[in-house]
C-alpha cells in the first residue's frame, strides 16, 4: 500500500447516510468491527456535559435483541474483546472476534445504533458507575491538571469540559434528557462503520446492507459549536494536592485537523516532543514517554531539570490545543522549567528546525505510516478515526503535507501560535512530596 493511505478497502455510503468501510485482510484470523459515531462532548451543552460518555455506557445495557449483559457475554463468550471510548469529537465502539464470528458485532451495532433502551433504572445505576469512573480519574493529579488546562483555555467552546463531564452534571442529568440526546444525535447519518480482517467483502457488504440499510436516524446536521473568542494574554492556574514532584502543563490554541496548518503541527509535535499520535509506529493511540532526540527532552531531561517532557497535538475537528507537559526532577523548580519552555518556543519561532531535525521528523512519520496498520483492530481504529475526523482523504493529505512543509513554515507557525501571549499554564504543586521511608 502507498504510504499514508492505509490498506486497500471499499468505502460506500448507504441510502440512509451510513458510511461503510470494508477492509479485508488476507489470512487475518480475526475481524474487527468498529462503529464510529460523530458524537462526543463537542455536541453537549452545559448541564448535560458527559452525556455522550453516559450514552456510551448505556449502549451496553439493553437494546431490542441484546438485553442487558448479553453483549458482553456474547462477544467475550466467543473469545472476542470489546469496548468503547468517548472523546470530544466522537464515540467509538469496537469488538474484535475470531473472523468466523464477524456477524455478531455487526448485529450488536445495528441493534443499538438507534434502538438502545436507556431505561430509567439503568440510567440511575450506571450513573453511580460513571461517577466512580470519574472519581478514579480524580485520584490522579494529571487528570485534574488536564481538566483545568482545558477549562482555562476554552471559555465558550465545549472542549472546555472533559468527555467524562462535570461531576454535578453527571449527578443531575435526567434519563429523559439522555434519551432525547440519543434520539437527536445518534443515527446512520452521523456514523461510520468500519470492518477490517478476515472476511469475504462481497458477502459482508450484503450483510451490512441488510442489517443497517433500513435504520433511520435524525436528519439534522451536526451542530457547529460557538467559536472560541481570541485569547489576548497568558492565563495561568495553580493546583495543589498529593503527588510526587511538581509538574506543569502548557496549552497554546492550535489549528483544527482540517486546517492547512495541521501537517505543520504534526511536525511541530515530532520535533518538540518526539512523535505524533497520528503517525506513531506500532503504538496505537498511546504515546511513548521518552524521545531522547526531541528538543524538549534535550532541553529539560538531559539537563536534569525534568524527568519527563512531552508535547501533544491531538487532532480535533475544531481548533484545539498544542500541549507541552513537563514533570520536574526532584528539587527542581517549575520557574526554571517554564523559562526553558518559553526559550524553546522562541528559538523554534526565530530559527525554525534544523535540516537534520526536519529529516528525522519526516523519517519518523514515514515509519509510523508504514507500521501503523498491523492487525485488524488497528486497521479498524485508524480508518475510522480518519473517516470521522476529516473524511477518507485526511490521512493522505496530512502525510503528504508533512513531507512538503518547510522549516520556514514551521518557524512561522511557531511564531504565530506558540506565542507567550496566548499560552495557558497549569501548575501542579504537591502538598506532600516528602521523602518517607
Amino acid at each position: 500500500m502507498p504510504l499514508g493511505t492505509g490498506p486497500r478497502r471499499t468505502t460506500l455510503r448507504l441510502a440512509n447516510g451510513l458510511t461503510v468501510i470494508l477492509a479485508p485482510l488476507a489470512a487475518s484470523p480475526t475481524a474487527s468491527v468498529w462503529l464510529w459515531h460523530s458524537v462526543g462532548s463537542r455536541d453537549e451543552r452545559p448541564g448535560l456535559t458527559g452525556a455522550s460518555h453516559c450514552i456510551e455506557h448505556l449502549l451496553f445495557l439493553g437494546s431490542p435483541h441484546f438485553p442487558k449483559g448479553s453483549i458482553d457475554r456474547a462477544v467475550v463468550g466467543v473469545g472476542g474483546t470489546l469496548n468503547a471510548f468517548t472523546d470530544t469529537d466522537f464515540t467509538a465502539y469496537f469488538a474484535t472476534v475470531p473472523s468466523a464470528h464477524v456477524g455478531l458485532p455487526l448485529a450488536i451495532e445495528a441493534d443499538r445504533l438507534t434502538g438502545a433502551f436507556l431505561s430509567d433504572r439503568e440510567v440511575e445505576r450506571e450513573r453511580e458507575v460513571i461517577l466512580s469512573e470519574r472519581e478514579g480519574n480524580e485520584n490522579w493529579p494529571e487528570f485534574k491538571a488536564e481538566e483545568e488546562l482545558y477549562q482555562l483555555a476554552f471559555r465558550r467552546h465545549p472542549y472546555r469540559w472533559d468527555a467524562l463531564g462535570w461531576r454535578t452534571d453527571i449527578e443531575t442529568m435526567r434519563p429523559a434528557e439522555l434519551r432525547e440526546y440519543y434520539r437527536a444525535q445518534y443515527g446512520p447519518r452521523r456514523a461510520a462503520l468500519v470492518v477490517a480482517g478476515g472476511f469475504d467483502a462481497a458477502k459482508l457488504r450484503r450483510t451490512v446492507e441488510a442489517q443497517f440499510g433500513s435504520l433511520e436516524g435524525p436528519a439534522t446536521p451536526r451542530r457547529t459549536p460557538p467559536a472560541e473568542p481570541a485569547q489576548y494574554g497568558p492565563r495561568r492556574s495553580t493546583l495543589t494536592g498529593p503527588g510526587s514532584t511538581p509538574f506543569v502543563y502548557f496549552g497554546w490554541p492550535a489549528p483544527a485537523v482540517g486546517s492547512p496548518l495541521a501537517p505543520t503541527f504534526v511536525l511541530l509535535d515530532v520535533i518538540l516532543g518526539g512523535e505524533s499520535r497520528l503517525f506513531a509506529a506500532g503504538a496505537g493511540w498511546r504515546r511513548r514517554a521518552d524521545h531522547p532526540s526531541s528538543r524538549l527532552y534535550r532541553a529539560l531531561v538531559d539537563t536534569g531539570l525534568a524527568v519527563r517532557a512531552t508535547s501533544d497535538w491531538t487532532p480535533k475537528i475544531d481548533p484545539g490545543l498544542f500541549c507541552v507537559r513537563v514533570q520536574a526532577a526532584p528539587g527542581r523548580s517549575l520557574d526554571q522549567i517554564e523559562e526553558r519552555v518559553r526559550a524553546l518556543a522562541n528559538r523554534l519561532a526565530t530559527r525554525g528546525p534544523t535540516d537534520g531535525e526536519l529529516r528525522e521528523a519526516r523519517a519518523k512519520i514515514r515509519r509510523g505510516a508504514e507500521l501503523a496498520y498491523e492487525g485488524a483492530s488497528r486497521v479498524g481504529f485508524r480508518l475510522g478515526l480518519f473517516a470521522t475526523l476529516g473524511g477518507p482523504s485526511l490521512e493522505r493529505r496530512l502525510f503528504a503535507g508533512c513531507l512538503r512543509t518547510t522549516a520556514d513554515e514551521i518557524a512561522a507557525a511557531a511564531r504565530e501560535w506558540l506565542s507567550p501571549d496566548r499560552v495557558n499554564i497549569v501548575r501542579y504543586e504537591p502538598t506532600s512530596p516528602g521523602r518517607p521511608r
Binding site: A27, P29, T30, V76, S132, G243, G375, S377
Partner: protein, 435 residues
C-alpha cells in the same frame, strides 16, 4: 531453517550458550518481528541495602550502549520505527525488541548492545535515579499505587522477593552507584539461564547477529534464586488514610501457586470466573453491573517461577467502601464454598479458548504468547494443547484449587484513600426527577 507455520507453536532450538532459545513464526504477511530476552535480573535479586538496583539496571539498558550514547541509540531505533522496552518483575527483566522485518539484522545488533554492552553513563544513572525517586514518591501518595505496595507487604514476609514492588527507599536509591549497577548487570544479564524468544515471519532466517551475539559462546552460570523465609504472613487488615483523592482503593490478596504447579490451570479458571475475565466475571457483574458500586472490580492471578499471588481489586467512593468490601469477600467465599455451576464454567472456559485467535492478531500479540512459553519452559505445543487441558477440568477440580488458595479468611486486606470524616457522597443523593 526451522519450519513452523502455526504461530501458536514455539520451537526450542538447541545451542551451546546456555541460553534457552524459542522460535515462533508469524504469517508471511506480517511486516514486523520481535525478540525478547528474559534475564534472571528481577528485583527479587536486589541486595538488601540497594533496593531499586535491578530496576535501575533494567531501565539503563536503552540509555546508551556500545559506541552509541542515549540519543544516538534512540536515533537508530527511530530511523527504523522500532522500539526496545524493558519490563521487570520480581524474577526477570524482559527486554523486547520490536521493529520492521527489513531492519532485523541491524536492530538485532543494537539489541545485543543494549543487553550486553550498556554504557551506564553517569549522567544517565543520575537521570534514572531521579525517575525512581519520583516513582517512589508517587507510590507513597497515589492511592492505587500505594495499595499495591501495601498489599505486597501484607502478603509476603520481610525478606521475601515478592514483598516489594521494585522501587527502593530514598536511602537505597541514593546509595546505588554506577559500580553496583555494572556488577549487577554482569552477574544477571550475559548469563546461562537467560532465555531468548524470537518471532519472525515464516521464511525468514534468524538474524545473524542473534546467532553471533546471543548463542555462540558458552555463558557463565546465572544467579541462584534468592532465599527467603518460608513462613506465611497472618491474615491482616490495614487502612491507610490518604487525603486529596476522591476514591478509595480496596485490595484483597494472598499467596498463590507457581506457574509450574499442577493445580495452576484449575486456579487460572477459578480466577477467570471470579474476576479475571473482562465484563463477564462475577466481581464485575456483582459489584458494577448489579450494584453500581464501582467502575471496575476484578481479580488477578500472578504466577511466577518461585511462587505466585492473587489480588482482588476495586475502587469505590469513600462512603461505599464497606459495602463494596463485603461484596468482594462474599464472592470469594461463594467461589470456594459453593463452587462453579458447570454452565458458568463452560462459558468462561470457551471464552478463554476462543480468545487465542485474537491473541495472534499482530506480531507483538503473538510474541507475548511465545514469551510465556519460553519463560516458564512450557511445552512447544502449549497453546495448541491449552484448550484440551482446560476442557479436562471439571467444576470440582476448579473449586478444590480455588479453596486451596482463596479458602478461609486468611487473606490480607488493604484499604487506601480518603477515609476520614466528611468524604464521600454523604447522605442520600438529590432525588432525581424521573421522566
Amino acid at each position: 531453517m526451522i519450519r513452523l507455520v502455526d504461530p501458536r507453536e514455539v520451537r526450542y532450538v538447541a545451542n551451546d550458550s546456555g541460553v534457552l532459545l524459542g522460535l515462533q513464526r508469524m504469517p508471511p504477511s506480517s511486516p514486523t518481528f520481535s525478540a525478547t530476552y528474559l534475564a534472571p535480573a528481577g528485583y527479587g535479586y536486589d541486595p538488601p541495602r540497594l533496593h531499586g538496583l535491578a530496576r535501575a539496571a533494567s531501565r539503563l539498558l536503552t540509555a546508551g550502549a556500545g559506541r552509541r550514547d542515549r540519543r544516538q541509540f534512540a536515533r537508530v531505533l527511530d530511523a527504523a520505527g522500532a522500539t526496545i522496552s524493558s519490563r521487570i518483575d520480581a524474577e526477570v527483566v524482559a527486554t523486547t525488541l520490536w521493529g520492521p522485518v527489513w531492519a532485523a539484522e541491524s536492530l538485532a545488533e543494537l539489541f545485543a548492545d543494549a543487553l550486553f554492552r550498556p554504557r551506564f553513563d553517569p549522567k544517565e544513572v543520575e537521570r534514572v535515579r531521579s525517575e525512581l525517586h519520583v516513582e517512589r514518591m508517587r507510590e507513597a501518595t497515589q492511592p492505587s499505587a500505594r495499595a499495591e505496595r501495601e498489599l505486597a507487604e501484607a502478603i509476603f514476609p520481610p525478606g521475601h522477593p515478592y514483598r516489594r514492588t521494585g522501587g527502593g527507599s530514598a536511602r537505597c536509591l541514593d546509595a546505588i552507584g554506577r559500580e553496583e549497577i555494572v556488577h549487577f548487570h554482569s552477574e544477571h544479564f550475559p548469563v546461562a539461564g537467560a532465555a531468548l524468544v524470537v518471532t519472525l515471519p515464516a521464511g525468514r532466517r534468524l538474524p545473524r547477529a542473534i546467532v553471533r551475539r546471543f548463542l555462540r559462546s558458552r555463558r557463565l552460570a546465572g544467579p541462584r534464586p534468592p532465599r527467603w523465609p518460608r513462613r506465611s504472613m497472618p491474615p491482616s487488615k490495614k487502612t491507610v488514610r490518604l487525603e486529596g483523592g476522591s476514591q478509595v482503593e480496596i485490595r484483597l490478596g494472598g499467596p498463590a501457586l507457581p506457574r509450574a504447579d499442577k493445580q495452576y490451570p484449575a486456579l487460572f479458571l477459578a480466577n477467570e470466573v471470579l474476576g479475571g475475565r473482562p465484563a463477564i466475571a462475577r466481581l464485575f457483574q456483582r459489584v458494577r453491573e448489579r450494584r453500581g458500586l464501582a467502575y471496575d472490580a476484578s481479580s488477578e492471578l500472578w504466577a511466577g517461577r518461585w511462587g505466585g499471588s492473587w489480588t482482588v481489586a476495586a475502587g469505590t467512593s469513600p462512603d461505599r467502601w464497606p459495602t463494596t468490601l463485603s461484596l468482594l469477600t462474599e464472592e470469594l467465599e461463594r467461589l470456594t464454598q459453593q463452587g462453579i455451576p458447570e454452565r458458568e464454567l463452560t462459558a468462561t472456559r470457551e471464552s478463554v479458548i476462543g480468545e487465542i485467535p485474537t491473541a495472534l492478531e499482530t506480531t507483538a500479540d503473538a510474541h507475548a504468547l511465545a514469551e510465556e512459553v519460553v519463560r516458564f519452559h512450557l511445552p512447544e505445543t502449549f497453546w495448541i494443547d491449552w484448550p484440551k487441558c482446560l476442557r479436562s477440568l471439571g467444576s470440582e477440580a476448579v473449586r478444590v484449587a480455588a479453596a486451596q488458595v482463596y479458602g478461609g479468611s486468611a487473606f490480607a486486606q488493604v484499604v487506601v484513600g480518603p477515609l476520614g470524616p466528611g468524604h464521600g457522597r454523604a447522605g442520600p443523593r438529590p432525588r432525581l426527577v424521573r421522566s
